[in-house]
Amino acid sequence: MVDDSDLVARLQAGDEQAFATLVDLYHAPLLRLASTFVPSRAVAEEVVQDTWLGVVRGIERFEGRSSLKTWLFRIVVNRARTTGVRERRETPTDQPEPTVSPERFNAGGGWSSPPAPWADDAEDRIVARQTAAKVARHLNLLPERQRQVVVMRDFEGLPATEACALLGITEANQRVLLHRGRARLRNMLEQELGKG
């Protein structure tokens, strides 16, 4: 891991190598995050381009009160929002829908169609690589809000508090979105891995 304060000091001193390192570290995460807010890959690329411009201009004033990563994510989310072509609010708490089809449980709420065991197999090293590729494909099929939370938390490893701050949602809402997103991804994996 590159040390934040060292990288920031070099960036503020005009070190091009440091900037190249920053781009290598964060371009892909920024693009992925931007993609969850805007309708197309092309628009996401513009948003990220714009973000880098903001970084170049703003790095002088960066004081390290947040991590560099959080700072970058904040810029990209703000830019994406102002581009904000299609922000719809999914309010998750109104009517909690089941994340596993009710048909899979009996009248008493026990499994009638339990998950076929595949967790063991998926932990195998070769299968694990394929599982990661599958999950990356499925990620794009999640509803926007769920995708944003899952990308921030499980993909980028941001803490819950930062994801909430970036999205302007409560911790409880964040957990509901995260749960729905994860459960949906598990369902998709089950379709592929859980068959016999």
Binding site: F19, A20, V23, V56, F105, P115, A122, R182, L185
Partner: protein
């Protein structure tokens, strides 16, 4: 624990993220874990959720083309120079 307090599979699957996030109360957590201890299917479900989460953490970021990276570095250089 009384029968009335026991949770069923249909409820357990909805508690997985709260459980992993440490967001359950001590009582809810105890009931969830009691259920898991008795239910191999829900244990498998929990493991599958963990596998799904772990898979997300392993997705390889796409790499930026050399040219695009050079363009960005040029942007930085010209701003510094300006």
């Amino acid at each position: 624990m009384s029968r009335r307090d026991a949770i069923v599979c249909r409820q357990a699957v909805e508690l997985v993220t709260d459980y992993l996030e440490g967001a359950l109360t001590a009582d809810e957590r105890a009931r969830f874990e009691t259920h898991l201890a008795d239910c191999p299917h829900c244990r498998e479900y929990l493991r599958q959720m963990r596998v799904t989460i772990a898979a997300l953490g392993r997705v390889e970021p796409e790499s930026l083309s050399r040219a695009a990276r050079d363009d960005l570095v040029a942007l930085y250089r010209s701003w510094r120079a300006g």
